[in-house]
Symmetry: C2
DNA sequence: CGCTTGATGATACGCTCGTATCACTATAAG
DNA sequence: CTTATAGTGATACGAGCGTATCATCAAGCG
């Protein structure tokens, strides 16, 4: 037998190459040949480790989910002691495309999300309960904050969690579409979060002179 | 000379065929040949009336914008006398994919929106100030409602308008992605709008037994 | 050592895409 | 009645795609 190479490492190398293409040139230009070139391997190798393109896409999606959860939990931890409030803030602000990493993640994620519009079979094969889990997690923490008196009583946790996630997704799209920059998106999100949590220093994020629109 | 056919009518027929494909099979399957078949004409005719595919896409996008504005203003009128409140409600609820028409429009719109991620040149060639105009319009009406005492004073009209539009876009995506149905999305939007406008009957939309999640 | 077998390279196949070419038709203008 | 020309059809071209085929290489086992 030959080299007995580490398959998982190779698959990762190729999968991350796909993610790199998806977050720069877009997922639709992530062809087998492009991925091979980006990963620095031959086309045959991509075929060897992923028998079909769908398998490659699914593997890359798993890697992306991994990176996303890592960023989210890092963002939560960065906010200090873990409370319901920091979980909600950390989770949502982590996925708004502000710095270079979040732009990369959002670009790649959006690519996969829109791919589902045309290939609904892929969603099933992936499980794809990711947004649903996030939503119920947020709802749980909003309810907890509500019982702690940090959130108004007339707030519906489930509806609000869904709204916050949809808002964050919409903000991400608007940044990727060039409608505004990440700082402006973050300001809009923080305004809503501040209103929800009735922060004493609510609106603090709006005092900086950054414009709401992107500077093209 | 031959028949002297009405060019504008033919272009419309072909452009709407593309929209029909975009809202059913997705914009990426709207190839020149598919559009020709859907419109009931030959491939050559599509090439004849639109020299290139980009011209076809731009024309179809214009038709889509036409239909969208028509639906929005119809939705506003349907809410009775035109006030700032009805403009905001009518505009936002009109673009949430609930009935068959709004699903069609949202699907097609999303297709074009995601196309811009890969072909940013198309956005420039189209002007594309559509979302920006909507946003400032909403901000204006929120500010007006604020002066009329219908909206709390600590609300930032610009930030809130942006948030509502992003929320609506995100809700549309979640419906298209199968995460929830149109009724649930509308309930989430109405919850936020009711909170913003401090409706006396706020939460009325939540009393029906419809589930927040879609029934798959 | 020699053979088996996992890993890799080169290349081809069949398809679809946007676009181009060439011929033909039928009508309005002169 | 011609005749130029707007409109239309059939078909081809070159490129890129995912996938398949075949040969080769090298390492471990008997």
């Amino acid at each position: 037998m030959p080299k007995r190479v580490d398959h998982e490492q190779r698959r990762r190398q190729i999968g991350e190459a796909l993610l790199r293409i998806a977050s720069t040139r877009g997922l639709q230009s992530a062809t087998m040949r492009e991925v091979a070139a980006e990963a620095g391997v031959s086309l045959r190798l991509v075929q060897y480790y992923f028998h079909t393109k769908e398998q490659l896409l699914l593997a890359a999606l798993a890697y992306l989910a991994e990176q996303l959860t890592a960023r989210v939990s890092a963002s939560i931890r960065a906010l200090g002691p873990v409370t319901s409030r920091t979980v909600v803030y950390g989770t949502l602000t982590a996925v708004v495309p502000t710095d270079e990493e979040s732009v990369r993640l959002t670009r790649a994620y959006t690519g996969f999300y829109t791919l589902v519009f045309s290939e609904p079979e892929m969603a099933e094969r992936h499980g794809a309960a990711y947004p649903d889990k996030l939503e119920s997690l947020l709802a749980k923490h909003i309810a907890a904050a509500q019982e702690a008196g940090e959130v108004a009583e007339d707030v519906d946790p489930a509806l609000t969690a869904a709204a916050l996630l949809a808002l964050t997704n919409g903000l991400g799209s608007s940044v990727l579409g060039g409608q505004r920059n990440g700082a402006a998106a973050l300001r809009i999100l923080n305004d809503q979060l501040g209103r929800l949590f009735r922060d004493q220093d609510q609106g603090r994020e709006n005092q900086d002179p950054l414009p709401v629109r992107a500077t093209p």
